[in-house]
């Protein structure tokens, strides 16, 4: 779902919730308003009762006065005196006014002239129309509109009766007004409910004229009806119906007041005659329950939803970003791994090519013992590399997580270099590359490091150079030893230079990333895992070395790996030959110089020839004990040079043919030409020493102590192995060294055998890990828990396919003494047996 739809959905949900809250709140509010409106109407009716009672009571007093005055046929003064003494309340007064002159007397004096009781209504509005004045006998409420009392200036209403006064013997109509300050009534007009405190009460007559006008009604209109029409839109017919309803019924309606506020008007008829209406007007907002709390609720919900939305939105954006990154990574990884799976065969095929090719050669030359032996050695080296490669592929996850660990061991740099040459030969040959492998100052042969990783570094760089160099191009390998700043180490500088396609600057920025390959139309057919440089970099870093690269597209690339590698304790003894004259012929000036130094370090006196012709000439002019001739020289190749030496020299000089290439193709031709032996470049000191000795038929001191296995005879080993084939391999291999073995099919049997064994019955136990009934780890723990000191301390070496470093640690933690990974390297096994044997002696 697109982000915009998620956002819209969220907003819609928010709006939905808000709408619900608002609608619900509004409905609740409206319901409360309806309820309050009903209460308001009821309260107005109650107020009408109160008002009516009050008006009736006041009117009754007025009626009583009028009746008495009429019955007693009083004069103005008599009536005035009568009422004056009848007053109870100080605020209430009575005015007796002649109907004709509208002049008369007040029972209270003017507040301006304290002894003036004369009162005039001649200009007073309320007596211009006397229709509201009642007669006492009818018991009707006759109340005036609100006016200012002329005597005290107070807002007042007057209850009235017509009376008849005796005016000098004649009857004269007069009006009796019982004048009451409006505030007397207002004080009684108090709604008991607090919520109706804003209600504004008025009394109108049936014409809509105000008897008491509340402050809510502006003076713009003389009657309530005009007021209503002025501020509320209504047509004439509707207005008539409405006003008729107001003066005849009780109820309520909505209307606007002069302040344009929406109000509720409650109305109810007042008085028995129904000629007055009590109006109660209150702003709707005062009645409304749309309290701040309601808006607070809506506000809080809105704010909450908004904050939730923003929070979710931010979180969603974050998640999406992470998901996007993950998806991109996954996509990239997936593509890279797909590419990897489709191309990884290259790295496997390279050593496999060597194995299969050499096996084929051996089969066809089965009678050539030396060739077969040589091929088997190469096959062994290629197999080891293949194993290393498989381990690397399996270790790639560790490379990526940075958990790659090193397993150092003593190894020969010579073997490493030979391995490099051997593995690369088929491809060099196939691409017809100009290949050179030179050494310089290589004095230390045995080093202590993770040989497999070092191999991998060197092979990766070299194979890349070969892969990315077009046919006919050149690849130069230089390996140099320098003094290291680290104690006990040598600085090994490995430099591979090619004239290949080179790399772009952009690619070089990412070239150490896993599954990346330089893309070029010229090299698309080249297979690769894309792991090589990544693993190489990780391994170089792990070995605390440096890797540098200079490259230019179309010109070539140079990788330089510099490592400080500890020197192994084991080194060969002194290699010295009897003084001899040696001629070395090569067109490679650098090789000549390094070879010269190497030969001289062996005690030989060497001369250099820079071509085949020069070599022939020198051999003819000087006696040499040995001649070393390079196979590939520009003018005269090695085979032809040998042939001419044999033909033109007058002595039988031993001649070695050297080459950085596979010489199997020229083997026969070279032998026929007179070559006495072959030597692969690079020319290590030990290689030259061995080969020269071999050529001269001199006994060479054993270089490998492992060659004598007599010390192993009589050793008995318990092999815990559930797999029959594995058992057969290990037992057969060990038997070749005179070592006897007993089998335990699982951990439990091994435990029983150890329990029941006599002391020193087994030198050690080879323990598989994954076995039925009891695995190797549990068996080891059980053995270590035995009471018998010999049994509990018997050396146990893991021999397992669980080859990762954490598996090794797991084994050691279980109490084992070592670890050998399958497929087994018998040399390592023998080395481990010897180590255990030596330790047992101690």
């Amino acid at each position: 779902m697109k982000r915009i739809w998620i956002v819209i959905s969220n907003i819609l949900i928010m709006l939905g919730i808000l709408t619900f809250v608002i609608v619900y709140s509004t409905l609740e509010s409206q319901s409360a308003v309806r309820s309050q409106r009903e209460n308001f109407e009821k309260s107005t009716v109650a107020m009408e009762q109160l008002t009516e009672n009050y008006l009736e009571s006041e009117q009754l007093i007025c009626d009583v006065w009028a009746k008495y005055i009429n019955e007693q046929n009083m004069t103005m003064d008599e009536a005035w005196s009568f009422i004056k003494v009848s007053h109870v309340s100080d605020n209430i007064s009575a005015h007796i006014i002649y109907s004709d002159t509208l002049q008369g007397k007040s029972t209270r004096p003017s507040i301006i002239e304290k002894d003036n009781y004369e009162v005039s209504y001649s200009s007073e509005e309320i007596l211009k129309d006397k229709s509201w004045i009642k007669t006492a006998t009818k018991h009707e409420i006759g109340v005036s509109k609100q006016y200012r009392n002329p005597m005290d200036g107070l807002k007042s209403i007057a209850f009235s009766n017509y009376i008849t006064l005796n005016d000098s013997g004649t009857s004269k109509e007069a009006i009796l007004l019982r004048v009451i300050p409006v505030k007397e009534l207002i004080e009684k007009w108090v709604f008991p409910q607090e919520e109706f405190k804003d209600a504004n009460l008025s009394i109108i007559n049936t014409k809509g004229e105000y008897i008491i006008r509340g402050s809510s009604y502006s003076t713009t209109s003389d009657t309530f009806f005009e007021f209503y029409k002025f501020y509320n839109k209504i047509d004439a017919t509707s207005a008539e119906e409405l006003f008729n309803k107001i003066v005849t019924e009780a109820g309520s309606l909505d209307m606007y007041n002069s302040r344009k506020e929406k109000c509720v008007l409650a109305y109810t008829s007042l008085g028995d005659e129904g000629d007055m209406v009590l109006l109660s007007l209150m702003p709707l907002k005062s009645l409304s329950t749309e309290t701040p709390e309601n808006w607070l609720l809506i506000g809080v919900v809105s704010a909450g939803l908004l904050m939730l939305f923003i929070f979710d939105f931010i979180a969603m954006l974050n998640f999406n970003k992470q998901l996007s990154i993950s998806a991109t990574e996954a996509k990239s990884a997936n593509k890279a791994k797909t590419d990897f799976l489709s191309t990884m065969s290259h790295d496997i095929r390279t050593p496999m090519n060597a194995i299969i090719g050499l096996t084929t050669i051996s089969e066809k030359n089965i009678d050539d013992k030396k060739l077969v032996e040589e091929n088997l050695r190469k096959i062994s080296l290629a197999s080891n590399h293949l194993l290393t490669l498989i381990n690397d592929i399996l270790d790639i996850s560790k490379v990526e997580s940075g958990k790659l660990s090193l397993i150092p061991q003593t190894f020969s740099i010579v073997d490493t270099a030979e391995n490099l040459v051997n593995i690369s030969q088929p491809m060099i040959k196939e691409k017809n590359l100009n290949f050179s492998f030179r050494t310089n100052s290589m004095n230390i042969e045995y080093l202590y490091a993770d040989q497999l990783r070092l191999n991998q570094i060197y092979i990766n760089i070299l194979s890349n150079a070969i892969k990315y160099t077009l046919p006919g191009g050149s690849v130069f390998v230089d390996i140099k030893e320098e003094e290291s700043q680290k104690d006990g180490c040598v600085k090994l500088i490995y430099r591979v230079e090619d004239t290949g396609i080179g790399m772009s600057k952009e690619y070089m920025d990412d070239m150490y990333q896993a599954f990346t390959r330089q893309t070029d139309s010229r090299v698309n057919s080249i297979q690769g895992t894309g792991l090589g440089l990544a693993i190489t970099k990780q391994m170089v870093d792990l070995m605390e070395g440096t890797i540098e690269c200079q490259s230019e597209q179309g010109k070539g690339t140079t990788f330089t790996v510099t490592l400080d590698i500890p020197i192994a304790e084991y080194q060969r003894g002194e290699m010295k030959l009897k003084p001899m004259n040696v001629l070395i012929a090569d067109d490679d000036e650098v090789l000549l110089k390094t070879a010269l130094e190497t030969l001289e370090s062996l005690g030989l006196k060497a001369d250099m020839a820079r071509s085949g012709a020069e070599a022939i000439k020198m051999v003819k002019e000087k006696h040499y004990d040995i001649a070393i001739v390079d196979l590939m020289m520009p003018d005269l190749n090695g085979v032809e040079t040998i042939r001419r030496i044999r033909k033109e020299a007058d002595y039988n000089i031993p001649i070695l043919l050297i080459s950085a290439y596979d010489y199997s193709d020229v083997d026969k031709e070279a032998k026929e030409a007179g070559a006495n032996g072959f030597l692969s470049k690079p020319l290590f000191r030990s290689t030259l020493y061995n080969k020269i000795n071999e050529l001269l038929g001199t006994e060479v001191e054993s270089t490998e102590p492992e060659n004598d296995y007599s010390d192993l005879k009589g050793i008995n080993i318990l092999v815990t192995e559930d797999n029959d084939i594995n058992w057969e391999i290990i037992s057969t291999l060990l038997d070749m060294y005179g070592i006897t073995t007993e089998r335990a099919e699982n951990g439990r049997i091994a435990l029983e055998k150890v329990k029941n064994a006599k002391k020193d019955q087994y030198l050690l136990i080879f323990m598989d890990i994954q076995m039925p009934e009891m695995n190797g780890l549990d068996a080891t723990r059980a053995i270590r828990a035995l009471d018998d000191p010999w049994a509990s301390s018997i050396p146990i070496i893991a021999m397992t396919s669980d080859a990762f470093s954490e598996n090794v640690m797991e084994c050691l933690n279980a109490g084992m003494n070592g670890h050998i990974a399958k497929p087994i390297d018998i040399k390592l096994v023998i080395k481990e047996i010897r180590r255990i044997k030596e330790n047992t002696k101690l």
């Binding site: 003017s110 507040i111 301006i112 005039s120 200009s123 007073e124 509005e125 309320i126 006016y147 200012r148 002329p150 005597m151 005290d152 200036g153 107070l154 807002k155 505030k183 402050s215 502006s218 003076t219 713009t220 209109s221 003389d222 002069s258 302040r259 309290t291 701040p292 709390e293 808006w295 607070l296 506000g299 809080v300 704010a303 909450g304 904050m307 929070f311």
Partner: protein, 421 residues
């Protein structure tokens, strides 16, 4: 991190809740009552609403009081005193209002900071160097002119006396029975007074002694000397009637000097309707009441009556004035309201609603009264400034009425000056 965000959000919500807490504290309410003799005062109530935007804690009410003039003194002494009340210039010459004046606040008091400068100086009455009344509206006499009729008949609104007579003759010739009309049924507010009074005041203004003489005539035997100042005014009345510019019989059919006058004017067949400035104030409402006007609306303005060859007069008198009861409750708030009211904006706004002449210096703002803004200063008179007393108004009113009605000759009226009733 998430926990922190939750806490922050909760805190923000709680803060918003606190911020939204309703204020329960109620502000005190100040009541200001204004009393007067206008039965309705919509313009003032509009100001109440405008003032509410400034002070929502003030409740203003206007109360129309019947028999206001007789009750004012009593109301000011009573328990329900008004804060502001209508006052009139003529009250100064009536002893029964002495107590009323004693309640009036001096609006020129610097401490009150009232903006009296926005009012035309001729309208401000000063008593004992105090300003006790602030003019809210002013009044003058003039003629409502139906501009459409003039346009229809191809006539110009007259600006001179002879022009007036000519226009009246032209209208008559075109079949208009009443070129000029007005209220003539009773002396109070009659058209003859509206015609004569400006001329009489202008005559008196020429000589300060004349005003003194006119203010103090012999009330028993009559004062022909003072009465002589009325001659030119009475002549104008007499000539307009005799030359059939005004048909008194027809004018007598108009039953009152306000509502009926306006409705008659809106019938649309009267080119010029003579009236006082209070009358145009009702034009707005009557436009909607008059079916004839609704059917055939026309444009109109209020002009000075061109009673001389130089043009008409602008008799600039205060109409309604407000006085502040210095003994009322909430006096400070009352003064604040007065300060609010006494400004060009508010006075013009009230005049616009009430359709009365504004007391401010800007007469042009209302097109109805704009013609008076063109009257030169030498033809503008303020009776109050001149010292014209009520007796002068009363005598010219009765004299002009009686002459117009044919009850007295001009000479008889002049001879009876001071005794006319």
């Amino acid at each position: 991190m998430k926990k922190l965000i939750y806490v922050a959000l909760t805190g923000a919500m709680a803060t918003s809740l606190v911020a939204c807490k309703p204020q329960n504290k109620e502000k005190p309410i100040y009541n200001i009552s204004i009393i007067g003799d206008y039965s309705n005062f919509e313009a003032l109530e509009a100001e109440f609403e405008r003032f509410k935007d400034i002070r929502d804690d003030v409740v203003l009410t206007y109360e129309p009081v019947s028999d206001y003039r007789n009750k004012l003194a009593t109301m000011l002494e009573g328990d329900e005193k008004p804060n502001i009340f209508f006052s009139y210039s003529w009250m100064a010459s009536d002893e029964k209002y002495n107590s009323v004046f004693s309640h009036m606040e001096d609006l020129s008091d610097q401490a009150l900071n009232m903006n009296l400068d926005c009012i035309r100086p001729g309208l401000i009455n000063r008593k004992d160097n105090k300003v006790l009344m602030a003019p809210i509206f002013s009044k003058t006499d003039g003629v409502l002119v139906n501009k459409n009729l003039f346009e229809k008949e191809g006539l110009q609104v007259p600006t001179t006396w002879s022009g007036l007579l000519e226009v009246c003759a032209a209208f008559r010739e075109k079949g208009y029975e009443n070129p000029m009309m007005g209220y003539s049924k009773n002396p109070s507010g009659n058209l003859m007074y509206n015609l004569a009074y400006p001329i009489f005041v202008a005559e008196l203004a020429k000589d300060p002694e004349a005003i003194d003489r006119a203010n103090n005539p012999d009330k028993v035997a009559g004062d022909p000397v003072a009465g002589e100042y009325m001659r030119s005014a009475l002549n104008v009345v007499d000539q307009l009637i005799k030359q059939n510019c005004i048909n008194i019989e027809n004018c007598d059919k108009i039953e009152d000097n306000y509502n009926k006058v306006l409705l008659r004017f809106f019938d649309g067949d009267v080119p010029m309707m003579i009236c006082g400035a209070d009358t145009p104030s009702g034009t707005k409402k009557r436009e909607s009441v008059s079916a004839a006007y609704q059917a055939n609306p026309f444009s109109y303005s209020f002009y000075p009556i061109p009673v001389t060859e130089q043009g008409g007069y602008f008799i600039d008198s205060p109409s309604v004035q407000f006085s502040v009861n210095k003994d009322c409750d909430n006096l400070d708030v009352t003064n604040e309201f007065m300060r609010f009211l006494l400004s060009d904006t508010e006075l013009n706004n009230m005049s616009s609603i009430k359709r009365l002449v504004t007391p401010t210096k800007n007469l042009f703002f209302d097109s109805i009264y704009a013609p008076f803004a063109n009257v030169p200063i030498e033809r503008t008179f303020s009776p109050d400034m001149l010292g014209v007393k009520d007796i002068i108004s009363a005598q010219i009113r009765i004299a002009s009425y009686k002459v117009g009605k044919g009850e007295l000759t001009i000479d008889e009226a002049i001879a009876a000056y001071g005794t006319l009733k």
